[in-house]
Symmetry: C2
DNA sequence: TACTGTGAAACGGTTCACAGCC
DNA sequence: GGCTGTGAACCGTTTCACAGTA
């Protein structure tokens, strides 16, 4: 398996999303030019990205939607379901629990945790909310891959420590705080204020 | 005003967030090395970024936290409040309306819109929910800068068209669909499935 | 002809190595 | 000595230009 450059991965996931919608529309083939028009990327970039996965297109015709989808899936999605746990069942946490479209992508939230006793014990969209103390036990029992932090920023680091201690190797952090993590744990920070402010700067240029 | 490279902007916003927390702790100075340790970036990168804004540090001491904060703010934040509107008062929209920490960053959601009559008329966290039809009028009246899409993906494009028609120049899109937008409108797409899947790929490398 | 695939050039951004300074 | 500031080297990524092909 060839080495795929860091930034082609999210783009490939975007192609996958686009292909799924084209297939639903009944399309059999699509060209790099059309994918470019839809996604806002360039046709060359799309061809370069796809060429990582082999020679799969046909000159004069383009790519077969189903075939390309399957090939991209092989490279970029796992065989099995990706299991996640969520910390913080406030309004953001609840929105994530109710987010539609995870199942289709082989993503599943196995459990949620909260320290507020009024929230624990409930089930939100089929996911049970446990007290935080039970996190290590539940995480280990259910082979979780990724943890999501949706707690107030004061508690971000302690939750991260709990996750690392329970063996999680990937963290998506919605708390506006920088986490101190060991080298071997990957993280993705989503700070809504920063997203909005950065976009605003873009509009001024 | 010197030209600032595209990727230093979100980092600068991150420095700002970090400085604010250091100032709250009572810190007067901080070195690039310490900022690096906190944020997970490198010290050189931080110095390079800051050097865009002038010679502001002191050898042997570092940066004065308050002074640096004010300088960064001048370059990267506007004088006035940034006004936003939200489309879609479902669970994700509600979570955004309740998100704490916008005010501190001069961000404000002026109004929300939904097509579901059961949701319109309500006030969520002080923000009124209007029927979508009233969007152009409300947007124009209140000098809005940014629009947020938190509707189901089927309605993403129509909402985007409505925003563009009302004169918005920046869109943050949480719907997992590619928007067709004119050149002069900036957009930032946040597809939660893609974020989680891309992180998962990171953990496998 | 209208597409894919790709080596090579160009670009942008990060890192290096070190000068300058208190 | 321990910090900042920065030109130059380096590196990954994107774009260009064009060869290949049904």
């Amino acid at each position: 398996m060839k080495k795929i450059s860091r930034r082609t991965i999210p783009r490939t996931l975007l192609y996958l999303r686009t292909l799924e919608s084209l297939i639903k529309e009944g399309r059999y083939t699509v060209s790099s030019g059309e994918l470019a028009r839809i996604t806002g990327l360039t046709d060359v970039q799309i061809r370069k990205d796809i060429s990582n996965f082999g020679r799969v297109g046909t000159p004069r015709i383009g790519y077969k939607t189903r075939e390309l989808k399957n090939i991209l899936k092989d490279y970029v999605l796992p065989e099995n379901i990706i299991r996640m746990v969520l910390f913080g069942a406030g309004s953001l946490g609840t929105a994530i629990l109710k987010y539609p479209g995870f199942r289709k992508q082989r993503l599943k939230i196995s459990a949620a945790f909260d320290k507020d006793k009024r929230k624990t014990g409930k089930t939100i969209n089929g996911v049970k909310v446990y007290p935080v103390e039970r996190a290590p036990e539940v995480i280990r029992k259910s082979r979780v891959d990724i943890g999501i932090i949706a707690v107030p920023s004061e508690h971000g680091q302690e939750v991260a420590d709990l996750m690392v201690g329970s063996g999680l190797k990937g963290i998506v952090n919605f708390a506006p705080v920088s986490l101190n993590l060991p080298e071997n744990v990957s993280a993705r920070d989503i700070d809504l204020s920063i997203e909005f402010l950065a976009l605003y700067c873009d509009t001024r240029m």
